[in-house]
Amino acid sequence: MKGSRILTMLLALVAIVAVAAGEARPAPREGVKLRVVATLPDYADLARVIGGDRVAVEAIVRGDQDAHFIRPKPSFVEMVARADVLVTTGLDLEMWLPTVIDKCGNTHVRSGQPGYVAVSEGINLLEKPTKLSRAEGGVHIYGNPHLTCSPVNMKRVARNIATGLIRNDPEGEAYYRANLERLLARIDERLFGKELPELLGAETLCRMAHNGTLVPFLQKHKLKGRPLADYAGGWLKAMRPLWGTALVSYHKNWVYFLKLFDLEEAGTVEPKPGISPSPKHVSELVTMMKERHIRIILAANYFDEQKIRMVASRVGAEPVIVPLYGGGAPEATDYFALVDLWIDRLLAGAQKAGMLSEDEKKPQAEAPTP
């Protein structure tokens, strides 16, 4: 009896010490960087910008990989084991991550712990399923998790990353906040230009853009005799020739991007996410594209290019195949370069497909000078 009581107390003590060791991780000492591991390269990019000299950042997924289907490697476990902060979507995109976290033994970065940053926090997700069934294909039960394709979402992602860095390195708070504000301002300028945020406010613009009401609003309303759309700059202005255009995407990666720039997703090559198209679906898609004169197929470059080009050739459309994540192509050196690449390739595809007028063919808005 006495022996079992001692054993129970010892076990309780061991449990308390283990939990305390996992949770109470001291902030980095001066000169020692916060180790940040991000699942996606775009999160890593934002973490580097916000964290600056105070962080050392690594990404698990390469820019040309499908984040759904990563085979966990021992090197991932080692990476996460050493991490002070783990940045992930926090939805059901990186389904391989829980295995890696379990194996690494780093309790500090488990869900709910200080080192865990779910970047989707606070983002109003699109395409929340009404019916949860495997018959619908690879359904994402919380909503579409492909957040990175909208700069509006990435502002919230940046805020969540900053919150995580501050939680784990409170001494760096002022530094992180200053970097965050500069980053958010830069995203606003690159997305809307200079004039529109001054007129309507960046947050209002972001809210409307996320809801898909921004472009119709800009087209409908005027200021000083000019449509508000004329005051748009940056990526919004660059995409103006394609506002209201219908296109087909290979997989539902692009919903946030399409909603932001008022593009219509008329169909997908994959009828249900993760399920190869049947002959009938391909035929119906081809027929629909011909009837509606849809001339662009948008796809991430980790999908089978042959299928995309085959569908495109059957309807006379242009395949626009781009990396979904930064680093997925040599030009996509950071998130801003990545969005530039998407827009440039879409416009080039539209031009080749004969969708742009002579006026619209001139070079698009350049990036503002730093």
Partner: protein, 270 residues
Amino acid sequence: MSESLHFLILQLSLLAVVLVLHTYIGLHIVRRTLIFSDLVLDQLAALGALVGLALGIGYATPGSYLVSTGMVLIGAGLLAGIKPTNPLIPREAVIGTLYAVALLASLLVGDKLSGGEAYVNKTLAGAMVWVSWPLVAVTVGVYAALLLFHYAYRDKFIALAEGTAAKERWWDFLLFATQGIITILIVPIAGVLLAYAFLMIPAAIAAMFTRRWGRAVAIGWGVGFGACAAGCVGSWYWGLPYGPTLILALGAAFLVAMGLRAARRERATD
């Protein structure tokens, strides 16, 4: 021409040609109980395509076929050359090991490629729904040449199957090499799993009912083509993924054949 009719004619034309040679070679494999040799060659063809991608050679291009040819010839050499004399080591164990190594090598190479997952998936699942008439024409040409070769030397190959061939290793190598050449063409189209099904299932069905070569090829081709045609129509009508539906249709035909065979046996004993 409607999309559905165009699709059916294209697919059935390809299937009609492919199944002749696959059934014939499959009969050799079934009779010699080298069941997994085709999986080895299919996977080596796939590995060759992935290695080609790693070398900057486009998938399903002449250069890619060349690399795959090199791989399957190595595989044909190993399959012909490795014959354990120890009765405790079945030849199928060696073949199975070769398959596992080829598959894992494919996964490792695919891991390093840009878009590697898509290519690995493609080598397994194929892209038969996306075939075009030029590809059918090339396939018909190569298959016709191989059929002629096998017809010219049919006595040698049949002797090999019956265990009476002289220079066994040499004719073994030629059988595996010709089998390998058809896998180089069919794996990019149908994928490893469907290519294997094309080779094994019609031959296995035919082997249940006759030992005569001509009749076996006719039965295997007829049943295989019928099952694939049903799969083709079913995939279209029910909107099912094409390759898996063909495999299921062939599998269903195999089960029906087994049932018929069992029923025949029972009637014979009554």
